[in-house]
């Protein structure tokens, strides 16, 4: 069954262009000018043509291309737009899977859509139309996800590249090695070894690739041959609760932010969806005053926590926060909602009066059986994420 890969290259930069479409076509850089060491995070092809590369110092990049426009990442908007695109795609197909490694890339299973739209090209055209034209989406259609992604990578804005099953190996053989789902340092190693294309990579013996690059390398080798039967699996829908606060005055200090967060946490836990529940993850989105800038932090808790422990964890996490500007709007998103985790402080029958007869009974049992058959629960690693490591039974031998 054909799979579509819908891709928006330079996603963060294209998002910034939604508000300033007049900048389209100019050399654009994505950077973090507020941080101590400002570097180029991403660059459009116009900027790359001037010799600018991601990771380069911002001063060096400005010297290479003085006309380059520096844009600042807006992660909150990126997530919002990505979710909107995904929702629109899900109106057309229930099988939509965002790429785990690249934001602005989705896989869609065409099962059933071809019959509805006539051909896979028509169906794919309809999918591209779900995306704002400013974002310059393009699509690849192929029998597997990996080939579809490479096809989308060579397609131009608004176009569709279709790769049939029989032409996939020849098409992939010419593609750059950088398409492989391997860490950047492994890709650089391969390039240094004189392996610039997927064809050269698949010419290597599989066992040698596995020995040198491990299971990930072996899997990449299989994908590079066009052997990819991974299905499109939509991520599970998880319940989440959002709480937003527009600060009465933009927050400039950490203390002000924490006061706001305390209010938000208590408001959120008073909602019916969170009442009597615990959460595993909290995401904090902050929109800064003035120009479109934002940041977000995700806090994954060691174990499900209630409101008080969430506040403590947030305070602890924000201790090292560097405020990059006055915060106008804060949003907290609670996910991983589970039922309240009970903590038994003491066994109710084990008061001082009950302990003496119990001790006598254990002595009797010990005389009879040679060891104490009564156990008590002890904490071993109560913080452990592995449930069987948290508590253990130990012989109660008074």
């Amino acid at each position: 069954m054909p799979v579509v890969c819908l891709r928006i290259p330079w996603f963060a930069l294209r998002i910034a262009l939604l508000d300033q479409p007049q900048l389209d076509g100019r050399p654009l850089l994505l950077s973090n000018p507020q941080s101590g060491r400002a570097v180029v995070l991403d660059a459009t092809p116009e900027a790359l043509a001037k010799g600018i590369r991601p990771g380069m110092n911002l001063r060096e990049a400005s010297a290479l291309c003085p006309t380059a426009v520096i844009l600042v990442a807006d992660p909150v908007r990126e997530t919002t737009v990505a979710n909107q695109v995904r929702e629109r795609l899900e109106h057309l197909s229930p099988l939509v899977e965002p790429d785990a490694r690249e934001q602005g890339c989705w896989y869609i299973d065409l099962k059933g859509l071809e019959r509805h739209y006539g051909t896979s090209e028509n169906a794919t055209r309809r999918l591209i139309e779900c995306v704002d034209p400013t974002l310059r989406a393009r699509a690849g259609v192929a029998p597997g996800k990996f080939t579809a992604r490479v096809a989308a990578g060579v397609a131009t804005a608004g176009s569709i590249r279709v790769i049939a099953l029989e032409e996939a190996p020849a098409f992939l053989a010419e593609a750059s090695i950088s398409w492989l789902p391997l860490p950047p340092d492994v890709i650089r190693q391969l390039e240094r070894l004189g392996i610039p294309t997927l064809g050269a990579f698949t010419n290597l013996p599989a066992r040698k690739v596995a020995a040198r690059f491990g299971p990930a390398g072996r899997e990449a080798w299989t994908l590079a041959r066009g052997e990819d039967d991974r299905p499109v699996i939509p991520p599970p829908r998880t319940q989440s609760v959002r709480e937003e606060l527009a600060m009465p005055v933009p927050a400039v200090s950490r203390e002000m932010l924490i006061i706001g967060l305390r209010q938000m946490v208590s408001r959120a836990f008073a909602k019916p969806e969170l009442r009597g529940k615990h959460v595993r993850q909290v995401t904090l989105h902050a929109i800064l005053e003035g120009e479109r800038r934002s940041w977000e932090r995700t806090l994954t808790l060691k174990e499900p926590c209630g409101s008080n422990r969430v506040v403590n964890a947030l305070e602890l996490r924000l201790q090292a926060l560097e405020m990059t500007g006055p915060i106008e709007i804060v949003t907290l998103e609670f996910s991983g909602i589970v039922n309240e985790v009970a903590r038994q402080a003491a066994f109710p029958l084990m008061g001082p009066r009950a302990a003496a007869p119990l001790t006598a009974a254990i002595h009797h049992l010990k005389h009879r059986y040679g060891l104490s058959p009564i156990y008590h629960v002890v904490e071993v690693e109560p913080w452990s994420r592995i449930p069987e490591r948290r508590h253990a039974l130990i012989a109660y031998d008074p």
Binding site: P236, M350, A355, V378, V380, I386, R390, H391, A392, L393
Partner: protein
């Protein structure tokens, strides 16, 4: 609270609590669709939550994907898929 008896702890006397139990699971694309409990097959009505834990990579790596399941009889069970061995286990989290 049970008073501390000051008895020396011996590893052989420690019995871990909440140890995972083997369970028979029918899965599609690595997601459970039915589980067998006491020889009865229960259909998975809904996967309420799923999360992955990865730990102890420095010795015996632990990689598990947990699923909080709502079964067709209304019961809730938590199972995990051991991503290292491929086995399924029943375990409260």
């Amino acid at each position: 609270m049970v008073p501390d008896t000051r008895t020396q702890a011996r590893p052989d006397r420690l019995r871990p609590l909440n140890e995972p139990l083997p369970i028979e699971v029918m899965a599609e694309h690595d997601r459970p669709v039915a589980i067998v409990i006491n020889r009865h097959t229960h259909r998975v009505e809904r996967i309420q939550d799923t999360w992955i834990i990865e730990d102890e990579w420095w010795r015996q790596p632990i990689r598990r994907q947990y699923f909080a399941l709502l079964l067709d009889d209304g019961a809730k069970r938590t199972i995990y898929h051991d991503l290292v061995t491929g086995a399924w286990r029943l375990q409260d989290y």
